[in-house]
């Protein structure tokens, strides 16, 4: 079975999500090609070629793909898809954006957010904010799949697969990039961090998140947030963890001033160890926490920081 993976990359660098999609693909076949669509993305293509299991890398290095505009990338992928049984990408905001478009162009359903490969045509995926796990079987001739990367380990690197340049240059001309505001941080990315400390409405304001940042810095971790904290304007949207935000599964997740709504739990309950700090002993977050501390966060977070 031949598999096409669309690489996740930014600022010339390959993202670890791609390595995780490779792991998911290994259960489907051994001929694994990775497409790197972008502009000035040679370095990402070289990194993709080094992933164990990848047999070929295709690079489409054109201005039309620079911002991963869904119209252009989907048209490119749909054109290439003829030779493949599977098309996969990570279920990131980028993959979620262009992959359903690819599926529709190929006249097949998309299987979103798989967490396990049961057979060549059968997959597991969470539904209802992770409160149920569905096993689904697809009869489509081509399978378009997005992968929940927290469910798969990253494939190792070490090989060197051939890199082939594509000349296909598709600009549909209906969308243009205007601007972007990307959050720059010295800390690890949420989806890659092994330790995350998240704050909720209980943090009261954005300035108080500095307390969590100090803890994160001592632990080499990332800072996340609940939707309530994002909505209230304490922190930016890219920090939201949950059903409709980022899905994370670090070794340690510390929830501070977060009640534990199902939509939040959906994004973090697969973490290895969960700590909850909340002043309300009945907060639902304690039902999923390995260690719970009933306390006022303003009293205990500075102490926590000083003890690390």
């Amino acid at each position: 079975m031949t598999i096409l993976i669309i690489a996740e990359h930014a600022q010339g660098e390959l993202k670890p999500e791609t390595n995780k999609v490779v792991t998911a693909s290994l259960a489907l076949g051994s001929e694994i090609h990775v497409l790197v669509a972008g502009y000035d993305c040679k370095q990402a293509a070289e990194s993709a070629a080094a992933i164990l299991g990848v047999t070929r890398v295709l690079i489409a290095d054109k201005p039309a793909y620079q911002y991963q505009l869904a119209e252009n990338v989907a048209a490119l992928v749909a054109e290439l898809a003829g030779g493949y049984e599977y098309v996969l990408a990570a279920a990131t905001t980028s993959g979620k954006n262009f992959m359903p478009r690819v599926a529709a162009l190929l006249d097949v359903e998309q299987i979103s957010d798989i967490i396990a490969v049961e057979a060549a045509d059968t997959f597991k995926r969470p539904v209802y904010a992770g409160n149920a796990i569905a096993t689904v079987q697809s009869t489509d001739h081509k399978k378009v799949i997005t992968v929940r990367t927290t469910a798969f380990d990253a494939a190792e690197v070490g090989e060197s697969a051939p890199v082939e340049y594509l000349e296909t240059d598709i600009d549909m001309g209906v969308s243009t990039f205007v601007a972007e505001t990307l959050t720059v941080s010295e800390r690890p990315e949420l989806t890659a961090a092994s330790i995350i400390i998240s704050g909720g409405r209980g943090m009261q304001n954005g300035d108080n998140f500095a307390m969590l940042e100090s803890v994160a810095d001592k632990l080499g971790g990332a800072v996340g947030a609940s939707r309530a904290a994002v909505d209230a304007g304490f922190v930016s949207n890219d920090m939201q963890v949950g059903q409709t935000g980022k899905i994370v599964a670090p070794d340690l997740y510390i929830a501070v001033g977060i009640s534990g709504a199902i939509q939040h739990l959906a994004g973090m309950k697969d973490s290895k160890v969960i700590v909850a700090i909340n002043k309300d002993e009945d907060a639902p977050i304690f039902q999923v926490a390995d260690y719970g501390l009933v306390a006022d966060l303003f009293d205990v977070i500075p102490v926590l920081e000083s003890q690390l």
Partner: protein, 249 residues
């Protein structure tokens, strides 16, 4: 300018679903149902665009069993002008839904189609993108801001790294994120008024929809449950547990 807003009837977001004992599906009997929260945001955005004079008509469409007329009435009470119900008893996949929406759009010729980014039941996050592809339209997914001017829509999108703004030619498809707006509550007079607004009913089969999906659900199970752990009395005890027991720091 006309805006088309596809809305879906789903379980109320506050309700925690239960899986049926035979693992065939989730149990939705006697559960509270509602408009998918992201669709409610789509309706609100469309209504605001009409109220500000940018749009002239807001048409909502829902595909599903007869009961989804309740959600169409709610959307009409929130300010939409007209409803279309495409009746089907089958559990259609997103591609089939997108194809039905395409047939509606071919008739309505809306300039802007606003959908939710994701249904909170299937968690699919694909219908809007599929519809855009089928129509050959540009798409602005996960929108937290819309600005219409000069035959174009500028969409600010919530992406993993932060925010991205795109400019799309009209007609276009936009899918909503949570921060686009805060939906209003329907007032009693508006709920009464909504009862008299036009609601057209069509049959999915007549519109040529497939009655089966190429993706079959074999079983639905409870996720692995986490059991509550221990409560600690102090930060010292917590740090000690994390170091010596959990060994994560």
């Amino acid at each position: 300018m006309k805006i088309l807003v596809p809305i879906k009837r789903v379980i109320d977001y506050n309700v925690k679903v239960r899986v049926k004992p035979d693992c065939s599906d989730v149990d939705l009997s006697n559960t509270k149902m509602a408009i998918n929260p992201f669709c409610e945001i789509a309706v609100e955005e469309a209504v605001r665009l009409r109220e500000s004079g940018v749009a002239t008509e807001v048409v909502v469409v829902s595909i599903g069993e007869k009961a989804c007329q309740e959600q169409i009435r709610t959307a009409l009470a929130l300010g939409a002008d007209r409803g279309i119900h495409i009746e089907t008893s089958s559990n259609l996949g997103s591609l089939q839904i997108a194809k039905l929406l395409k047939s509606v759009q071919l008739e309505e010729q809306a300039d802007l189609i606003i959908l939710g980014k994701q249904s909170i039941d299937s968690d699919n996050n694909q219908t809007g993108q599929m519809l855009a592809a089928l129509m050959g339209m540009p798409q602005g997914t996960f929108a937290s801001k819309l600005e219409l001017a000069d035959g174009k829509v500028a969409v600010t999108r919530e992406v993993d790294g932060g925010l991205q703004t795109l400019s799309l030619t009209l007609p276009a498809v936009v899918t909503t994120d949570l921060r686009l707006n805060e939906p209003r509550y329907a007032s009693l007079p508006n709920i009464m008024k909504a009862k008299r607004k036009p609601l057209d009913v069509k049959s999915a089969v007549e519109l040529g929809a497939a009655t089966t999906s190429s993706v079959k659900v074999l079983k639905v199970e409870e996720p692995a449950t986490r059991t509550a752990g221990v409560m600690v009395e102090s930060v010292e005890a917590l740090v000690d547990k994390l170091k010596t027991e959990a060994k994560v720091i």
